[in-house]
Symmetry: C2
Subunit: 146 residues, 2 copies
DNA sequence: TATTGTTATACTCTATAACTATA
DNA sequence: TATAGTTATAGAGTATAACAATA
């Protein structure tokens, strides 16, 4: 070190909250992806599967909106889940344009298994935060507005 | 609404802190990108430019490590900054393998301008968080460990 | 042998436009 | 005419392997 104060190279970026958010989120999501990978899931497919398990019959457009993704991009995600036999596409009787998504028994089991693995992963990543601090973190994040 | 409790479709995901982090970070970085775009900068190029302005003479490998990116991916970022005449590449005399990165006068001015725009953007995005809450948020994020 | 910058490549996520079939 | 699902496509970020020049 050439300087007694030993300033980090990215010190000029640390004044930006968004920089801290991005670094931390990248760490967390990368670890979550590693946890999901051996189960044949990625973050996007796990998220979609979870919504479908919690709201059977949800339409693709509703699903995409809930996850903040484009309808067009949701198609490949749903294709993957369908090919893995974790969900089924069923044409709606009331509105024959729409497709209702339903989880299979295998899909429900896989979602439960992945959920538990992610809760364990979060217990590890957030081990240095108390339950109150974890709730505070989510609360503060929810106060950010577009 | 069919249910009196009116549960959101992504409710099953909200128990995961990583989900809140990802949604919030996507919002913040998307807005930051919109702010930087008219200045000819993206988040990655702004970050690199900031490090180079704060640590003139930094090497490419050091820069990439500081930003948590691959050396190979930093090349295109630095190419862009060089083509915009905001930085220069100078072969090191001590170690002729290495390249020292220096900001130009125009680069320093552009970085200052972009920094101010991002501080304004953060004041808008984090308007509902007090100064203490903003510090708490960063503090909590720093407690997350790999 | 190891490291620096570089190229090539591939994969994920994301964003937009346009098509089809239904409403 | 508007909407639901779909296809095609392109951009940005990210990850790995391999190479030439230099240490």
């Amino acid at each position: 070190m050439t300087d007694t104060t030993d300033i980090a190279l990215d010190d000029g970026l640390r004044e930006l909250i968004g920089y801290s958010m991005k670094r931390a989120t990248t760490m967390v999501t990368a670890d979550a992806a590693r946890v999901l990978e051996p189960m044949g899931l990625r973050i996007t497919t796990f998220s979609a599967l979870t919504v479908i398990c919690n709201a059977p019959g949800v339409r693709q457009t509703e699903l995409a909106a809930a996850l903040g993704m484009e309808r067009s991009n949701s198609v490949a995600v749903i294709d993957t889940l369908e090919k893995s036999h974790w969900i089924t596409r069923e044409r709606s009787a009331q509105d024959r344009r729409a497709i209702a998504l339903h989880p299979t028994t295998a899909g429900i089991m896989r979602q439960k298994q992945a959920r538990l693995a992610l809760l364990t992963h979060e217990d590890r990543m957030f081990a240095d935060l108390s339950p109150i601090e974890r709730r505070d973190l989510v609360k503060l994040l929810s106060k950010i507005r577009a």
